[in-house]
């Protein structure tokens, strides 16, 4: 079952962080990002999570918490309202506490969001960039679910070490399980305890669309699963839940 608080964290931790990659790798997005400099703070509830998205000279940086003095503050009284805005369903608008006069910044962000949607959901997107964005989303969503969803937290406590998800000769994300602290970051880990490697970007994109029989893919060596398979078993349940949250 979907937990709105967890989904809000996925949107703030995993989905927003994709804008960093987008501005870096996609020329069109980079051009958009160059049109405005400033910080946007996303805030949920009085004591809920906060994430700052900084746009500066065409680069985007996403940081946990309130960083600096954001020019725009988007306050969502509940997690559900934030989720509705991200998913484009139901009522989902923030209370703009600050920054109404900085409409250009919001306009730039909306344009970047449209570009993101075109790559992730449009026809004939740049395949490698889409795979990289989805890899980042999956890795960070797994970490968020493992760290914050009550039933997954218990499972996460049973594993310790580093899981690496990667496409062969392509993008990677690694997730560190250290008790209650679960973190994800892009790139390869020096010595991961578990490796999940997808033979091709196409296979990975199909997996992200829930079109891959994972066990069969492993046996046919289209996917490599190596190392701590107990960790793999647990991570697989988190992976399955990413689909539930971001369907």
């Amino acid at each position: 079952m979907r937990n709105e608080d967890v989904l809000a964290r996925i949107h703030l931790d995993a989905v927003l962080s994709n804008f960093e990659i987008l501005a870096q790798e996609d020329p069109a997005a980079n051009a958009l990002a160059r049109a405005w400099n400033g910080n946007i703070l996303f805030a949920v509830g009085i004591a809920g999570p906060r994430t700052t998205l900084e746009i500066k000279n065409g680069k985007i940086k996403v940081m946990t918490g309130k960083v600096g003095d954001p020019g725009i503050v988007l306050f969502f009284p509940t997690a559900r309202l934030l989720n509705n805005m991200f998913t484009g369903t139901g009522v989902g608008f923030p209370v703009p506490l600050k920054g109404l006069t900085k409409a250009k910044g919001l306009f730039v962000f909306m344009k970047l969001a449209k570009r993101m949607e075109a790559i992730l959901k449009g026809e004939n997107p740049p395949r490698d960039l889409k795979a990289k964005l989805l890899m980042n989303t999956l890795g960070r969503s797994i970490a968020t679910i493992a760290a914050h969803e009550p039933e997954s937290k218990a499972a996460a406590l049973s594993i310790r070490g580093v899981t690496e998800l990667r496409i062969k000769n392509g993008p990677a994300v690694n997730i560190t399980f250290a008790g209650e602290r679960v973190t994800a970051k892009g790139g390869n880990a020096p010595d991961p305890d578990l490796i999940m490697e997808f033979g091709t970007p196409e296979l990975f994109l199909d997996l992200a669309d829930d079109k891959v029989d994972v066990f069969a893919a492993i046996c046919l060596e289209d996917m490599l699963l190596q190392g701590d398979l107990h960790m793999g078993d647990v991570v697989n349940t988190f992976l399955d839940k990413v689909g539930v949250y971001l369907q």
Binding site: D193, D213, I218, C219, L220, L229, H230, M231
Partner: protein, 411 residues
């Protein structure tokens, strides 16, 4: 000549088109080393099997336990075939039903009665139902990492299993009497049963034998609180002690579940119990289309009799001890930190200086490529068909594999 797996892979591709996972459940080879293990076999005899690419293996998986006397065992197979010619699923059942129940009562230390099903999970579920019916209570205590089947009450956190399915299940660490006592006190008068394996045999981690006094303590707490003590002897049963693994560890449960080695590979399982549980067993309705099939009962009778005659558990223990000694000594010669945990007949191998199994996976891969079929993630099984020559050959192969592990990992 190095083993190759071309035909196995071709067949798996064919299978995956019409079968989810290609091969499903615990038989799925994703937990082997794909590309270095066979997926399908053509025949098996004794302690060996031959795969579809013509490779021969000494087998230490024994179908995850059912094979104990050797594949294609003449006496057991003939008993099955003879009875099959007289009918299989019949109503009324064959008199073999009585004979097999009498045999279980004769052989098993805690059996005052016996009932039969097909799989281990049938009997663990049946036992849970009896426990709940005994004092009309709901809660069941299980051990973390214990395995009692994939049915929803026993499964954990997998797709399709809901928190509601597990709402009356309480987990405790295996071997922790204090934790069990605490749970009993916190749930006074609510716990129906406690189901454990006779020793701890989880996957992905070393096995743990019960500390002295543990089972006697469990028995006492269960008696004081009217809790039904259930032993899931599906995996370990018959390999430690013909009288049951509870007898091996010196206690008597109220219910015990058997399957796997009971009929050397033919599908039958047994739930046995003490006099105390007879009345509730007479009230509960549990059944299945094939639970009274007679050929499997004939096979079980022949298998149990043969196990008694040759002391199968004793042979498994002796061969397992030979294997353990040989592997541990070979590993030590290469400067590797390698141990076998659990009983000799049901060993789990691990390198003590790693927790991510990378050495174990390389070791198993190299053994498979040389004709020895090991598992790195799960305990293995020794059979009475394994010969001293099998074990010696295995140790020679393992020596080569340890050398490669040493070269790659340094220690």
């Amino acid at each position: 000549m190095a083993y190759t797996f071309t035909r196995s892979k071709e067949l798996f591709q064919r299978a995956a088109k019409v079968i989810p996972q290609g091969i499903y459940g615990h038989f799925n080879p994703a937990t082997t080393i794909p590309g270095s293990y066979p997926y399908f076999i053509t025949r098996a005899k004794g302690s060996h099997f031959w795969d579809v690419d013509g490779n021969e293996y000494i087998d230490y998986v024994c179908a995850y336990g059912p094979m104990i006397l050797g594949y294609a065992h003449d006496r057991v197979d003939e008993a099955f075939a003879r009875q099959a010619r007289n009918g299989t699923a019949t109503m009324p059942p064959s008199t073999l039903l009585i004979e097999l129940a009498e045999k279980m009562v004769e052989v098993n230390d805690c059996a005052d009665w016996a009932m039969f099903a097909k799989n281990g999970a049938d009997t663990t579920t049946w036992a849970v139902v009896l426990a709940r019916g005994y004092k009309r209570r709901n809660k069941i205590v299980l051990a973390n990492g214990g395995y009692h089947g994939t049915q929803s009450w026993a499964g954990t956190n997998h797709t399709g299993i809901t928190p509601t399915d597990r709402s009356d299940i309480i987990m405790v660490p295996f071997g922790d009497l204090e934790a069990f006592q605490r749970v009993v006190e916190e749930n006074k008068g609510q716990i129906a049963g406690a189901m454990f394996t006779p020793y701890h045999h989880p996957v992905f981690e070393p096995q743990v034998l019960p500390a002295p006094g543990f089972w006697q303590g469990m028995r006492r707490i269960c008696d004081e609180n009217d809790i039904v003590l259930i032993i899931d002897d599906v995996r370990a049963g018959w390999r430690l002690d013909i009288k049951g693994s509870a007898h091996y560890f010196g206690f008597k449960p109220d219910l015990a579940c058997y399957c796997k080695a009971i009929a050397n590979g033919y599908p039958i399982s047994a739930l046995v119990g003490t006099e105390k549980m007879r009345m509730v067993a007479s009230k509960v309705f549990q059944t299945g289309s094939y639970w009274n099939n007679s050929p499997e009962m004939a096979a079980a009778l022949a298998c149990i009799d043969e196990m008694q005659q040759i002391d199968a558990a004793g042979i498994c223990n002796a061969r397992g001890a030979q294997l353990r000694k040989g592997l541990e000594e070979s590993a030590a010669r290469h400067g590797l930190q390698f141990k076998m945990s659990g009983p000799n007949a049901i060993p789990f191998m691990h390198f003590t200086n790693e927790h991510n199994f990378k050495r174990a996976q390389l070791f198993c891969k190299e053994c498979s490529l040389r004709g020895v079929y090991f598992l790195w993630h799960h305990n293995m099984f020794i059979s009475a068909a394994h010969t001293e020559a099998d074990i010696q050959k295995t140790i020679e192969v393992a020596d080569e594999a340890f050398k490669i592990v040493k070269e790659q990992f340094g220690g």
